[in-house]
Amino acid sequence: MSLASDPAREIVVSRLLDAPRELVFSMWTKAEHLTRWWGPEGFSTTTHELDFRPGGSWRFTMHVPDGSNFPAVIKFQSVEIGRIEYDHEDLSGTVLFKSTVDLAEQEGRTLMTITTLFPTSVERDRLIREVGWDQGLKLTLDRLNQYLTSLLEANK
């Protein structure tokens, strides 16, 4: 089955932003913008390379408030104004996860939705083949998380 259509391995986050779509889109295109909003409060990024076009990469180091630094690579697959697609890679070029950013206009505001698919790995793909996935499963990771929480509560 197509991994891209497996809701059990997706996380969807979205926010209606009070700004026109062009402006929201431009937040992805410059290092000076990205460092202002990528990551929670107190995080910052140092950009080593930002080549915002299909096949181009954003190589950066994320600085976390506790003093630790995480190098990261985002490889852009598509950079259209309504949709940005990227792979989050490790330094060796292995894809950790794939994300799609949808930017939808809503009366002068912009709904930004980020859909992230779980990492691909040979080991995991093998497991999926052998174990099999429930094709009819309509469970997002959010709902899965509610389920996990209820299990943990019951198990106390």
Binding site: L23, P40, P119
Partner: protein
């Protein structure tokens, strides 16, 4: 955002099946024998055993080695880990959106001010 460890993928793969989730839900209320576990399902005993094997390999359940009935019990740690990962990921974006929202407001205010100047 840190890399997802492979064990997490194994956990999610094991959780992707409704029968296995139902088994875990049953075990969250206490340990159980395989026969008891199989009761609510209209599937064969070997099929149940296969599901249990997947759950065991994923570290989500443990089975007593010495007791005659080899009861199954829930192993909470990997569930907790999966739950924490999803929560962290969600928080990463919620908080990034907060900052983006504030930054966009700041930029638009500056633009308006410049326009007026």
């Amino acid at each position: 955002m840190q890399a997802v460890a492979d064990p997490l993928s194994v956990t999610f793969a094991a959780l992707a099946d409704p029968t296995r989730r139902a088994i875990l839900a049953r075990l969250s209320r206490g340990e159980s024998t395989v026969t008891e576990l199989a009761k609510p399902f209209k599937i064969s005993m070997p099929a149940i055993t296969k599901h249990l094997k997947v759950l065991e390999n994923a570290g989500l359940i443990r089975r007593s080695r010495d007791a005659q009935w080899r009861p199954c019990a829930l192993e909470a740690a990997p569930l907790k880990e999966a739950s924490v990962w999803v929560e962290n990921y969600r928080q990463f974006w919620d908080q990034s959106f907060d900052r983006l929202d504030a930054y966009l407001a700041e930029i638009q205010t500056m633009e308006t001010t410049n326009d007026q100047a």
